[in-house]
């Protein structure tokens, strides 16, 4: 863990008077799978938006492999090697699933074109469990399948870091199992991931480390087990221990 | 009897429709009815009824060109009555020339007519060059000034479209040359009827005379504003629109003394008869300038056919170039395809327009009077 892959340094984002992210700092090492959790409205999505370039920070800086990326336009950041999924799924509705994934391959960090892009996209679709459905228009696909497309599209850019915003939300328990397995696999292949999630089962079983935010402030950072036992985290986020 | 087919392409819709339906279309109707009632058009020794084939050019050059093509090649009409407005006449001139029809441009004019006629010797210009019309008012003002009746300060405005630009182009230098001091000068966009600022600024410049190279909606708006703001000048001139009968009706007594572009010899019996016929046949009043000219251009066409005795286009062109024609605006004779005898300024007086200035040797001009102050209401 010499140079961290991603460094968040005193990052702040204010919407008018509301400070959604308040001077947050943390680092992500290469190959790490970091859980970013916190109550609703605590600033997690905003944090991801800042990293991916959808928003630019009010102050602070963000470094990817030592290179500052804060405030760059989203497409530049994507090309440098950041890929993401969205809290509410965003597929390209008028395109087939294969084309959706190709879209991720052509312009991103990867930049492949033609047959190479097609092959890559087919491989990825197979990996997320959509083999044989390449030509299905995504608009006709179920929710989980659309989520799979989104993941494959993000992976197609071969990013240094993958940001997942509640990618597991809305899946039923058996789908959840499949989804978690998929993330585990991707992580095992050495991909660095930040995942925002409210599904504690997933956080516990997948993430070594967690960052917890509350009202825009980082309130905890460390090994998942200890962070999740932190009384402040329990009070603000998990609620009294019961059935989990 | 085999009818004589006469094609018209002019505006029924679009920005030019207002002018065309006031001036051109009714006269075509009147003329066709009158000719047919009289037994038809005399071609050689035959009396043939006339049939009008009409198309809407939607005020667009593309449509106009297409319509002319259609008239010439599909309908194969015998004669063509050209479109309304300078712009569309210029756009269609090459085509009409190609097919050889005489093009009597009753509702358009330009400055470089000589050049035009050289290129298209089948074009005829009853309204004369723009210069004559634009400068008419300058002459009138100059006369008034020389007679010591008005000072030498003039406010001049124009609508910024082809017509307004052509007018101001010669009108302004002419004013200067005549020794007038242009104390306010501006243009406004076509279609703008909110002219209060224009009148206010003109009024602030305190001129002795006001000259507007304007179009109907703005002629009305300028006049109304001038009246509201009590913008009293000794000479108040508006262009297209001031010649409409509706203008006189709209402003009533307030119109007295207003100078307009063009004009007629209101006391000529032919003209008075024409006005009556116009009203009876079309249900609307003829205006005090362009309507009789438009009608006259049809009479010219008719007489040319009668003189030549056939519908041979070349012969017709030749005849129009050289002949003299008896019309509602008097005897017309083209000089190098241009009619140099035109009313250029008229003046309202109790619901009637009297020509006060003309080019060439037109008779019947009345001396201009100073405009009284706006009546208060």
């Amino acid at each position: 863990m010499s140079v961290p892959l991603l460094t968040i340094n005193q990052v702040r984002k204010a919407f008018g008077g509301l400070v959604a992210v308040n001077d947050v700092s943390f680092e992500v090492a290469k190959g790490e799978l970091l859980g970013l959790i916190g109550p609703n409205g605590s600033g997690k999505t905003t944090m991801l938006n800042l990293i991916s370039g959808a928003l630019s920070p009010t102050s602070g800086n963000i470094l990817l492999s030592g290179q500052p990326i804060a405030g760059l336009p989203a497409h530049k950041i994507a090309r440098i090697g950041v890929a993401r999924t969205f809290q509410l799924v965003r597929v390209l509705p008028s395109m087939s699933s294969l084309e959706n994934v190709v879209a991720g391959a052509v312009f991103g960090h990867n930049k492949v074109w033609g047959d190479e892009a097609l092959t890559l996209a087919r491989d990825l679709l197979e990996r997320v469990g959509l083999k044989g459905r390449e030509d299905v228009p995504v608009a006709a696909m179920t929710y989980i399948d659309q989520k799979r497309i989104e993941l494959a599209r993000a992976l197609a850019g071969n990013p240094h870091i993958l940001l997942l915003d509640e990618w597991l939300a809305g899946l039923n328990p058996s789908e959840l199992r499949i989804g978690m397995e998929l993330i585990r696999e991707i992580s095992a292949q050495g991909r660095t991931i930040i995942m925002v999630e409210h599904v504690m089962d997933a956080i516990r079983s997948l993430c070594q480390r967690c960052v917890v935010m509350n009202s825009g402030v980082k309130i905890a950072d460390g090994k998942s087990a200890s962070v999740l036992a932190d009384p402040e985290v329990v009070r603000a986020y998990l609620g009294d221990e019961d059935d989990a | 009897q085999d009818p004589v087919r006469i094609g018209v392409s002019a505006s029924k819709t679009g920005p030019l429709a207002g002018g065309a339906s006031g001036v051109l279309w009714p006269n075509i109707k009147l003329w066709a009815e009158k000719v047919n009632k009289a037994g038809g058009l005399k071609v050689g020794d035959q009396m043939r009824p006339i049939e009008i084939v009409e198309y809407d050019d939607k005020s667009s050059p593309e449509e106009a060109v297409k319509n002319i093509q259609r008239l010439a090649t599909q309908d194969q009409v015998d004669l063509i009555i050209p479109p309304y407005s300078t712009g569309l006449n210029l756009a269609t001139a090459p085509l009409i020339a190609k097919y050889g029809y005489p093009q009597i441009v009753s509702t358009g004019n330009a400055n470089d007519l000589d050049q035009f006629v050289k290129r298209w010797p089948n074009t005829f210009w009853p309204l004369g060059p723009a210069q004559g019309i634009a400068d008419g008012i300058v002459g009138t003002l100059k006369d008034l000034h020389n007679a010591g009746k008005i000072g030498n300060k003039v406010a001049v405005v124009n609508v910024s479209d082809a017509f307004g630009l052509e007018m101001i182009k010669t009108g302004k230098p002419a004013l200067k040359q005549a020794g007038f001091d242009i104390v306010y000068e501006s243009s406004y966009p076509l279609g703008n009827q909110d002219l209060a600022p224009v009148i206010a600024s003109a009024k602030a410049a305190n001129p002795d005379a006001f000259v507007a190279y304007s179009y109907p909606p703005d002629s009305f708006a300028l006049t109304e504003q001038a009246q509201l703001q009590k913008f009293d000048v000794k000479a108040f001139f508006v262009s297209v629109g001031g010649n409409l009968d509706a203008y006189g009706k709209r402003f009533g007594a307030a119109a007295n003394g207003i100078l307009i572009m063009g004009g007629v010899n209101a006391s000529a019996p032919v003209f008075q008869a024409y006005r009556k016929e116009h009203l009876a046949a079309t249900g609307q009043e003829a205006d005090w300038w362009a309507s009789p000219v438009a009608y006259a251009s049809l009479e010219i066409l008719q007489q040319a056919v009668e003189h030549v005795g056939s519908l041979d286009k070349e012969a017709l062109n030749k005849e129009i170039q050289t002949g003299t024609f008896k019309t509602v605006i008097g005897d017309v004779h083209f000089d190098n395809n241009i009619n140099n005898n035109n009313w250029t300024v008229g003046q309202w007086s109790d619901g009637v327009v009297h020509g006060v200035r003309a080019t060439g040797n037109l008779q019947g001009a009345q001396p201009p009077v100073l405009k009284p102050a706006w009546p208060s209401n």
Binding site: N40, Y143, N172, P173, S174, E175, H198, A244 | -
Partner: protein, 242 residues
């Protein structure tokens, strides 16, 4: 109170639901469990009058046949839906959203009282009545949606995956609130992925698979049914995680 029998829904040629019957009574919490695409949302939408139903369907509310009523009239009959994706008015403020909830004639008179009730339930909404709904966070928007549905003083409150995107704490509180709401006499019909939490709160549950009801029982029974456990509760996954 709400009785549905033989409900069928199709989208073009695709049959989404067939012969579905269910009922919800006063003060009862009923949960519908099923895989993605099983037809849960379609069921709620059909009851709410948002999608047309097949001939043969019968929906009765408080004994009155309401099968063919349009969505806005369903609300007047006392059926409120918190739809998938929340369906709040993003460009209106929080309080405008809530007030619109009591647009129904049945709710107009008690709008003020209900607003207090909703604010009590979700204090975050009381803090930010003038914020535009679309700038609220995911969970906050969920509160707006539920609050708005409550504002119509429904007899039956239908919720389509209300805990989606809510923090664990809020999910728990939400279910507590649902229990409170039910105790006030509302009937609740719930579609949920979080089967365990919802079954713990619910009185009864339906299992739905590819457009048909395949099981119905009381919540405690479902919770202890091993088949249900593995299919809808993902027991093995959780055990593996621990």
């Amino acid at each position: 109170m709400l009785e549905v029998s033989c409900l069928g829904v199709r989208y073009g040629r695709h049959v989404a639901l067939e012969g579905v019957s269910a009922r919800v009574s006063k003060g009862e919490i009923c949960v519908i469990l099923g895989a993605n695409g099983a037809g849960k949302s379609s069921f709620l939408a059909a009851v709410a009058g948002l999608v047309g139903t097949e001939p043969g369907t019968r929906i009765a509310m408080n004994g009155k046949d309401v099968t063919k009523l349009d969505a806005h009239l369903m609300v007047e009959e006392g059926i409120a839906l918190v739809p998938e994706g929340r369906g709040i008015f993003g460009e209106l403020t929080v309080v405008e959203n809530l007030r619109l909830g009591s647009h129904a004639r049945r709710a107009k008179a008690d709008a003020g009282k209900m607003l207090d009730f909703v604010y009590g339930l979700f204090p975050r909404l009381a803090e930010r009545p003038r914020q535009l709904a679309q700038t609220m966070s995911g969970g906050e928007q969920q509160m707006v949606a539920i609050g708005r549905a409550l504002m119509s003083k429904p007899d039956i409150l239908m919720l389509d995956e209300p805990s989606l995107g809510l923090s664990p704490l809020l999910s728990k509180e939400l279910f507590k609130s649902l229990a409170i709401i039910a105790a006030e006499g509302f009937g609740i019909l719930l579609v949920e992925q979080n089967a365990r939490l919802s079954l713990k709160t619910a009185d009864r549950g339906y299992l739905i698979e590819t457009g048909r009801i395949v099981g119905e029982d009381t919540a405690p029974n479902l919770l202890s049914d091993p088949k249900v456990m593995s299919a809808y509760l993902g027991v093995s996954a959780t055990t593996a995680a621990h």
